[in-house]
């Protein structure tokens, strides 16, 4: 109580000593606060930008041999070919990548295997330098199954290239213009 009285008396004696100057510490604090707020509100900000997009994959022509490394091992993406079209199935790595149930197809022409519903080694074209599998001996039912697979792939995955037999790489412009 003593203290309060003492302070009141002190304050009362001080009133006439207050100045009307602009340059008091209190004014300085308020002024800087005002300037800072004005700055933060008014400072120009550049228009927002989004992070860069992933660069587009270049459509390319594969032969069975150049397609082989794209099997998901050593950090490579997983590609597989269906009837001359190469799909990037990296997003389905669990199925088509190393250790997956369809791992045999990675980096290979998977047309025959998908058509016959078989994941066996003998479904793949053995001779990498030979002509592509024409699938001529398959029946209507198998071709129907293959078309089903193709439609699924078109929905889910990107066509990143086309597959031709070795020696036919120059013959572009026929199937190369397919839309992705």
């Amino acid at each position: 109580m003593d203290y309060v009285q003492q302070r009141v008396a002190q304050a009362a004696s001080n009133t006439d000593a207050s100045s009307s100057s602009l340059f008091t510490p209190l004014n300085a604090i308020l002024l800087s606060l005002l300037l800072y707020t004005a700055y933060t509100f008014l400072k120009p900000t550049p228009p927002p930008s989004l992070p860069r997009e992933e660069p587009a994959t270049v459509f390319r022509t594969f032969t069975p041999r150049t397609l082989l490394p794209y099997n998901g091992e050593n950090g490579m993406p997983v590609y597989l070919a269906v009837r001359g079209r190469v799909f990037d199935v990296t997003r389905g790595r669990n199925f088509y990548g190393p250790g997956g149930p369809y791992a045999n197809f990675a980096g290979r022409d998977a047309s025959r295997g998908l058509a016959c519903g078989s994941f066996d080694e003998d479904m793949l074209t053995k001779d990498l330098d030979g002509p592509l599998d024409t699938l001529a001996d398959l029946g209507a039912e198998e071709m129907e199954a293959l078309r089903g697979w193709e439609e699924r792939f078109e929905e889910k995955y990107l066509v990143v290239g086309r597959l031709v037999a070795v020696g036919e790489e120059g013959a572009r412009e026929d199937g190369g213009q397919e839309k992705a």
Binding site: R7, A11, S20, L30, P47, V58
Partner: protein, 578 residues
């Protein structure tokens, strides 16, 4: 006393000491601070569109062909879908949910005559068609009268054995009526740019193999054409009020013996009153014919002749309608003024889009070549204006003095800040804004006449860069200044000879300013997709998409066109010149 008691005592003393310094200045500063904060919070508004929508305006394909960039499309026309190919015209009685026809030019006029079909407060409202004569006189044309003219002129040309009809007129109702007459009566329309030298006119007639010309006396070199272009069979003069009394059917001796000359007014007035009141029926109508236009590049270079199919046109019209956000669509309350030649496919497409949206359309014959917007908008207050970049640049230059005054520059800074920082159009009607109107804002579309259909203010300006035609370039800073000055949004388009309408067009809500000489041209429209093909100098890599601009889509003559100029995609996926 302990240490903390001392500390508290000191604190108390210093706080009291500090606030003991409170004086009149402190009160002023505190008021200013609170006032500023209140103002900022109270006037806070959402931007017109989400900033991220402007940060990436087009979508590229994830796979690209070697030697080419990814294919870019508008966000509104995703890959794997069809591009905007038509007007989605629903015939009467068709199910509400069925997919409409793509339509053609005939459907544009049918829609203009029928009025708004969607249920709502504006159902049945029709646009008006006006002709501005000088600064004072405005003539309104009855839509049914125009329908009658379309029928009678179309019938007349067809009866006389016409097949390919050249239209050589300034911006006018007759130009549009002839175009529709050709569409309804199975004729091929050829639109010539107006006010050309004699030999250019003859050359264009020859190249387009026309047999009929609809034109105005005084501008068409009749004698020279008859002498040099014997294939001309038929000529229709569009005579203005003042010289109606003269006998225009008389062909000068020795010239033009084989040309059948008549006047527009005679054809229309000599027909029985109730003739030609109804348009040819929809059922069993023939396939629409092509429309030929001429693209003028640099002076002295031959005009490029381009044949657009009806499909090209409707696709372009649909894309232009779609380019304006739903809440801001053109409608019966709008007055549309083309202050650029209708012989440009871009201007024509926008005008047709306005007609299809049942907006009112005004024609001003001086407007076609005018690079002075004050003249072009004299006597009328358009809400939507198509202007050339040259005219806009002139407007900008003329407004400079007003902007350099102290108050003018501060107000302009405020308006610009609202546009570029807050991403919103400054609201009209405020105290500051009305002062700005009076001091800085150029007199555009302000009118003293009382006959103007509406007193609304200008809200949209559309302008276009013409590829290879040396049109002056507008920088994004100039565009922003113009937005602030006119209070209207501006869409800047990239147009090319082989593309009806535009290739790309800046977003309706894009007010951003960049450090550039020529602004970007926005993303592709919903009727186009754009890619870049490698050139010697500019090659696409993982870091940048650039090269010669290639356009594809239903509004492109021949479905694909190379523009012959180099462009690139900026980081926000808008197209710009390299």
């Amino acid at each position: 006393m302990g240490f903390f008691d001392n500390l508290l005592l000191n604190l108390d003393a210093s706080v009291t000491g500090l606030f003991g310094q409170w004086n009149i200045w402190t009160s002023l500063l505190a008021t200013a601070l609170v006032g500023f904060l209140t103002y900022q919070v109270a006037t806070r508004q959402d931007p017109d569109t989400h900033p991220f929508l402007l940060a990436r305006q087009a979508q590229g394909t994830a796979v690209r062909q070697p030697g080419e960039s990814p294919v870019y499309r508008s966000q509104a026309a995703p890959h794997g879908m069809l591009l905007n190919a038509g007007l989605n015209v629903k015939d009467p009685g068709a199910s509400k949910w069925s997919r409409g026809r793509d339509g053609d030019l005939r459907d544009v006029w049918r829609q203009a005559v029928a009025g708004v079909q969607e249920p709502g407060p504006t159902k049945g409202a029709k646009g008006r068609i006006l002709t501005v004569l000088g600064a004072e006189k405005i003539v309104e044309h009855n839509l049914d009268d125009i329908t009658r003219q379309i029928n009678l002129i179309g019938q007349h040309i067809a009866d006389q054995g016409g097949n390919r009809v050249a239209i050589y007129l300034p911006n006018s109702v007759e130009l549009l009526a002839t175009l529709f007459a050709c569409a309804f009566y199975n004729l091929t329309a050829v639109i010539l740019p107006f006010d050309q030298p004699d030999d250019a006119v003859i050359s264009m007639l020859r190249r387009s193999a026309t047999d009929t010309v609809v034109t105005a006396p005084g501008s068409f070199p009749f004698d020279a054409v008859v002498k040099n272009y014997p294939s001309l069979r038929q000529l229709i003069w569009v005579v203005d009020e003042g010289s109606k009394h003269m006998d225009w059917n008389e062909v000068p001796q020795g010239t033009g013996g084989s040309v059948n000359v008549s006047t527009w007014q005679d054809i229309v007035n000599d027909a029985p009153l109730d003739a030609g009141k109804t348009l040819p029926p929809l059922e069993g109508q023939k396939e629409p014919r092509d429309v030929t236009v001429f693209w003028q590049s640099k002076p002295g270079q031959q005009e490029e002749m381009v044949r657009f199919t009806a499909g090209n046109f409707v696709s372009a019209i649909a894309a232009q309608i779609f380019a304006i956000p739903t809440s801001q669509r053109m409608g019966p309350s709008d007055l549309f003024l083309p202050a650029d030649s209708l012989a440009n496919s871009h201007t024509l497409v926008l005008t047709l889009a306005a007609l299809f949206s049942n907006a009112s359309v005004a024609f001003n014959s001086v407007a076609s070549q005018a690079d002075d917007l004050a003249t072009a908008t004299g006597g009328i207050a358009p809400t939507i204006l198509v202007a050339t970049p040259a005219a806009l640049l002139k407007l900008h230059t003329e407004s400079k003095p007003a902007l350099s005054s102290f108050i003018g520059s501060k107000l302009h800074w405020l308006q610009t800040r609202s546009l570029t920082q807050k991403g919103m159009m400054p609201a009209a009607g405020g105290l500051l804004s009305s002062y700005y109107d009076r001091t800085v804002r150029p007199a555009l579309g302000t009118t003293t006449t009382t006959t103007t259909p509406n007193k609304k203010k200008l809200r949209l300006i559309v302008t276009a860069e013409r590829v290879g035609a040396d049109t002056p370039k507008l920088s994004s800073a100039v565009l922003s200044d113009l937005r602030a000055l006119t209070g209207a949004r501006i869409m800047y388009a990239l147009t090319a000879a082989k593309v009806a309408g535009a290739v790309t067009q800046t977003n309706f809500y894009d007010y951003r300013v960049f450090d550039d000489k020529c602004s970007h041209f926005g993303p592709p429209l919903t009727s186009t997709e754009v890619l870049f093909r490698d050139t010697e100098q500019y090659k696409t890599s993982d870091n940048i998409s650039q090269g010669e601009i290639i356009v594809r889509g239903p509004c492109v003559a021949g479905m694909e066109a190379a523009l012959g100029v180099a462009g690139k995609m900026r980081e926000d996926n808008t197209l710009a010149y390299v």
